[in-house]
Subunit: 351 residues, 2 copies
């Protein structure tokens, strides 16, 4: 059994900030990245917060990331923009894109902003939620940074988990926030299971003979399964064409495995759509409708074996409440990895 200690979001953010700065990321950029990383942890995205710091630092050290990027609009029309991320840390690129989409949608009603030359940006929901502050709906799709999914019926890993997040604000109830990989399990969950010494349930992965694979330390021997079989494959593929190919970003064979190669620019593709509720409807009426839908779903009677119906984002919302009050639980395997990363850079460890 692994040990778990809890740390505040602020402590995690400050640890990420000083570690990124020690790796020579400029302080202001490191602040943005660190705060978004800690936010991921507070939201319950255990595979996408401080867990990723050792990999990010290694990429910086090996020269795979541009620490002085010029993130800029490359093409633009009223309803869209294409952003060159200039190989910056993905959090910086996607915060830029989400804010740009929000600003554009105030005029155009709906704005779609795609990126290339970006990098891993953490959990999808972080960015889908940004337009909500302006009473907008956010929709975000990303190309995953390693291929773990073959086309349906195939054995060549040509696709990633290509996640989607959609965030819709309510008035009094929590926002409804979907954040899902197009595979049954995200690869981050496989990695955290391996680090914690846990088995995977059947249905997450199969081996090259099509048999269930449940040992997460043997994940290299197989691949993830898409949701709904050919349907999840179809979604992963189409999301890849929209977030990758359309934006001039890597897709398919061109995807760089960021867990194995820390030097080649990943040319990650993502896109975000901001939808201004006011362009379609009265904002307060819309938000009250969302509250009503939230309550209607919660009030549904349940199947045998289920205690309650959950809304998308509800578990994350509950985790956030717990973690804001009691801190983010961090397993000792991760703490050790973080201490090593910190020690190598001569910065103070977490805790």
């Amino acid at each position: 059994m692994t040990e778990v200690r809890r740390f505040s979001g602020t402590d995690i953010a400050d640890f990420c900030h000083r570690t990124l700065m020690a790796a020579e990321m400029p302080s202001a950029d490191a602040r943005i990245v660190a705060d978004l990383m800690a936010d991921a942890d507070v939201n319950g995205s255990d595979g996408h917060g401080v867990f990723r710091l050792p990999g990010y630092i290694r990429r910086i050290k090996e020269g795979g990331l541009n620490l002085t990027p010029n993130i800029r609009v490359e093409k633009e029309k009223s309803g869209m923009a294409l952003v060159d991320g200039d190989n910056a840390q993905g959090h910086l690129v996607m915060r830029y894109c989400a804010e740009l989409a929000t600003k554009k949608a105030k005029d155009s009603g709906v704005a779609w902003v795609g990126s290339h030359a970006s990098n891993h940006a953490g959990p999808a929901a972080l960015y889908a939620k940004i337009p909500m502050a302006a009473d907008m709906i956010g929709l975000y799709v990303a190309i995953g940074n390693a291929n773990h999914l073959p086309p349906w019926g195939g054995t060549e890993m040509l696709l990633s988990t290509n996640p989607i997040a959609i965030a819709v604000p309510g008035m009094e109830e929590p926002a409804i926030v979907l954040d899902m990989a197009t595979t049954v399990a995200a690869y981050g969950k496989v990695k955290t299971a391996a680090q914690r010494g846990e088995e995977m349930p059947e249905g997450w992965m199969i081996d090259r003979q099509g048999q269930p694979l449940t040992d997460p330390t043997k994940s290299e021997d197989g691949f993830l399964l898409p949701i709904g079989g050919p349907k999840g494959y179809g979604l992963a593929l189409m999301f890849g064409l929209l977030a990758g190919t359309l934006n001039g970003a890597a897709f398919g064979k061109d995807v760089v495995d960021f867990n194995a190669d820390f030097q080649t620019p990943t040319n990650t593709g993502q896109f975000i759509v901001a939808i201004d509720i006011a362009a379609f409807a009265d904002v307060e009426t819309f938000k009250r409708n969302i509250d009503n839908i939230y309550r209607t779903m919660k009030a549904s009677p349940t199947l045998p074996g289920y205690d309650e119906v959950l809304l998308p984002g509800e578990q994350s919302h509950k985790k956030r409440q717990d973690r804001e009050a009691n801190g983010v639980p961090i397993h000792d395997g991760l703490l050790e990895a973080l201490a090593k990363t910190a020690g190598d850079l001569g910065v103070e460890a977490l805790g």
Copy 2:
């Protein structure tokens, strides 16, 4: 075993046209609807073409459809429009919306057009494919016209199969066209299985105790299963908020079961996004990249038990080639239903 006869797309379209006209739909509108219905059949969407004619005619006869609609833009900004379908046949509303989105995207790069007061429009792919003629990508989402899906873990059917279609054009290879319900099976497949006297595989539906339901004639005793369990539920819900609630269309408890109620306006919601490839990339380069991705996927080695990897839309493309050459197969159960509908209106039956 049922008997099957084959009919040309033109014969099906002409049959739909004369039947809709006999039910007093104006000829020009009936032509548009009939051609789209036959196109659905030729594309292999057996549950969404002429199969739906008896239901459409019954709705017209019982006063549930507006035969002289004023389909119009209600709200508009450069990147979006909200269309009032005025309770017209859905095919008319969605062709209008798809053409409007395409026209707007020529200026804005990306345009999102939502609708309310629409109706069932046939298969999603029909509309996602329309922007391709202008070298655009199409993305279409609809609220299904009957709730067959509870929230995950619940038993109250508050959601429909809310499908998504995305169409991306290639240069020499067929377009890649995803068209999928967020449930394992679309309800149309349950209805066709019932009409053909076929069993359903396990995994399509469960009963109210959570046990597998395989008799399609007992579909009222259970509900459809979402793809990927809670993930498919999440997609169905979010697509419903975007296609329904945002547009002022019916969602959740407000959805009218169009298989049971032929009088109440359905207030169906749909949206389509047109994405102008030229705003992001060189069109020819992009299309050649899509061809390359198509070929790379096809070339993947296969798992034991699989002969080949299929691209989204490939089966439909093959069916289209077969049906254009050999006609659309129609089962005798459907032929009888169509003959009855035709007979009631005094028009010549199919075949």
